[in-house]
């Protein structure tokens, strides 16, 4: 039997700070979370990369080396990556870009931008394991559409990041290979399932990253790691090349250290794809036409009016700030609500009465669909095979050997829920609950422009805390799953801290928009972020290393 959950590494002997950050630049007060002395708001790394490259301030090779240097120093402690290519390959791409810039050629909007890709998203030139032993060593013969589009626009894929196996989990401890640490506190999880992608951006090992969000797997790690996470509307981004977990819920999402960066990456990968029948034909691939208009949302705060969000109706979901939510999280969300009011919004509480049904409905749908989707891993056409004399035994042994415990359990639960005669009792009822939840969101979004809630009921858990208790782990998804059931877009951005770690633990605010309303979410999110005072979300592990 494969031990798929890594035992937590003994962390007591790790240095508290890395050599290049001997003093936290922030003074710590033991009794309250870190406060900052008016640092500037985050700016778009993508836009400043472009500016630096085109004005020849830096070369793409310089930027690459600086990130790789930081990556090499932090990676032994974080373990965000499952695969890192040969640095000389990356350098060759950067050099080629530098030559084209020098020759005055046009380069794409993501030129020189380092992108990390979650390992359940296929990349032809790097292994793609889905975090599973059953695909250890597997090299897909194609790039996922999202990866292909990012590369076409000049992005450099810096590596494949760690995840819970096949996206099933909320801590990244479910990876068959390693446990990723949270850059804010190495004894805590980065969240999941896109924990590696979140940690990599948080620790500035790369500029932006791709993850996947089926029940919150981009938004919750964004909250835990203090970065921006963006889940698009279902159908906005092609799922071609994303290893399917729950086909009616899966989306590819983006991480960035600023709202602008997450938005620019999303913009780059969005649009109809003929290889994904569920990708929307109605939203144009607006990449070349509307870029100036799109980027105009990300202007500097100095050009904001005094109440830049005047008239915006914000609905705070009542069910997300009550029982079962950490007091520190509730306090951070209330502060965020006050901030919205300062910006000119009207903030009201809104109730979604069917809210709590979403969690069991989600897990019924997700396990059922995953039991079907994971039947393709049979050891015959790809992946690792355990040979047997009979076909059935070959299937059984290959799958038993290749899948971890959580994946096995979800497949079994899904198999049960879809058993003959049980469809009406479970799957169909969950789909009916899905209708109720969709309708309740539609109603709430008729009366409000955006809805807000925490992204998770607590800050990051300690490694090992949720290990043997599936229901306790599932409970943490309560804030996020309903958004997937309804197929809506949501943006998570860091809005405050609670006590923990050496400089506090970040808390994310979730903003939910109407279907295909990402542009509005990004506009509002950018304004919120740029005007949020006294908060800078740079984890202490790299604080000294980052120039402001």
């Amino acid at each position: 039997m494969i031990l798929t959950l890594q035992t937590p590494r003994p962390l007591s002997r790790l240095p508290r700070f890395l050599p290049f950050s001997t003093n936290a630049s922030i003074t710590l007060n033991q009794s309250q979370p870190a406060t900052c002395t008016s640092p500037p708001p985050p700016h778009s790394q993508i836009l400043s990369t472009r500016h630096s490259l085109l004005s020849r301030q830096f070369s793409a090779a310089d930027l690459l080396r600086s990130h790789l240097n930081r990556l090499n120093l932090t990676e032994p402690h974080l373990r965000s990556f499952l695969h890192l290519p040969d640095p000389s390959d990356l350098l060759a791409q950067a050099d080629s870009l530098d030559r084209r810039i020098a020759a005055g050629e046009d380069v794409g909007p993501l030129a020189g931008v380092l992108v990390a890709v979650k390992d359940n998203i296929c990349t032809a030139d790097m292994p793609s394991t889905g975090g599973s032993r059953i695909l250890e060593g597997y090299r897909p013969p194609f790039d996922a559409t999202a990866v292909k589009r990012a590369k076409e626009l000049g992005a450099i894929v810096v590596g494949k990041t760690n995840l819970d196996e096949f996206g099933m989990g909320s801590t990244t401890e479910g990876s068959a290979f390693q446990v990723t640490a949270n850059p804010w506190d190495l004894s805590r999880v980065p969240g999941g399932s896109s924990g590696g992608s979140a940690a990599a951006v948080s620790a500035r090992q790369c500029v932006v990253s791709l993850g996947s969000d089926t029940g919150g797997s981009v938004r919750q790690p964004a909250s835990f790691c203090g970065v921006v996470g963006l889940k698009p509307t279902y159908g906005r981004v092609s799922r071609f090349g994303l290893m399917a977990y729950a086909s009616s819920l899966d989306t590819i999402g983006c991480f960035g250290s600023s709202v602008a960066d997450a938005g620019i990456l999303l913009h780059a990968i969005s649009g109809h794809d003929r290889f994904d029948a569920t990708s929307s034909n109605q939203i144009p691939k607006f990449i070349s036409q509307d870029v100036p208009n799109f980027l105009s949302h990300f202007v500097s705060a100095s050009s904001f009016e005094s109440k830049p969000l005047k008239g915006l109706r914000v609905g705070l979901i009542r069910e997300t700030i009550g029982d079962g939510v950490d007091a520190g999280v509730i306090s951070a969300i209330h502060s965020a609500a006050s901030h919205f009011e300062e910006l000119g919004c009207s903030v009201n509480e809104v109730s979604l009465p069917s809210f709590s049904l979403g969690l069991p409905a989600y897990y019924i749908l997700a396990s059922s669909e995953s039991s079907s989707n994971l039947s393709r891993y049979d050891g015959i056409r790809y992946g690792n095979q355990v040979y047997a004399d009979e076909l059935d035994s070959l299937y059984g042994s290959s799958r038993a050997n290749g899948f971890g415990s959580e994946v096995k359990m979800r497949i079994l639960m899904g198999t049960y829920a879809l058993s003959a005669g049980y469809y009406d009792a479970y799957y169909k009822r969950a789909q009916q609950v899905r209708t109720i939840i969709r309708n309740s969101f539609t109603e709430a979004l008729n009366q409000n422009d955006i809805l807000i809630s925490p992204a998770a009921p607590s800050p990051a858990y300690k490694i090992g805390e949720k290990k043997n208790d599936p229901l306790a782990m599932y409970a943490g998804d309560i804030m996020t799953v309903n958004v997937n059931l309804a197929g809506l877009p949501a943006l998570v951005l860091p809005c405050g801290f609670v006590e923990g770690g050496t400089a506090g633990l970040p808390i994310g605010l979730q903003m939910i928009g109407a279907a295909f309303g990402e542009e509005e979410l990004l506009r509002v999110g950018h304004i919120f972020e740029q005007t949020l005072e006294n908060c800078r979300f740079v984890p202490p592990i790299i604080a000294e290393d980052i120039a402001s």
Binding site: Y234, P360, M413, Q432, V433
Partner: protein, 147 residues
Amino acid sequence: MGGVGAMVKGASYSYAVFCGSFLRSPRLSFSIHNKKEKLLKFRSFSSKSTCPSLQPPDVSRLAKTAQISLTPDEIEEFAPKIQQVIDWFGQLHDVDLQSVEPSIRAETENNLRDNVPETFDHRDAMIGAVPSYEEPYIKVPRVLSMD
């Protein structure tokens, strides 16, 4: 909207009557969190089956259906956890869902491609991933056994 709210509250009350120990609000599953007391309260009523006509999960049989060869240790380890989650799923049985249409997924158009075959350009890479290949066959062990 009031109709939905009233419907769910009614369902929760009948669930409470059925199970005995319960929180009145429909936020029951939402109040699961780290705190042990609330978790135990949740678990104590979740162990009662709410739908007597459904058989409890038989992990060995499910594993055969799902083609995963579990060890006896795994079966023993998984069975209570799976039982617990299936019981938790059971709370949907008490929600009044009459006349609610099931949603397959979020609203998207159904974009079919043209029924025109295309050649895949990277056949070699695809074949290269096959564990057991003998040109031009993907090799598998025998499908049928004598017993």
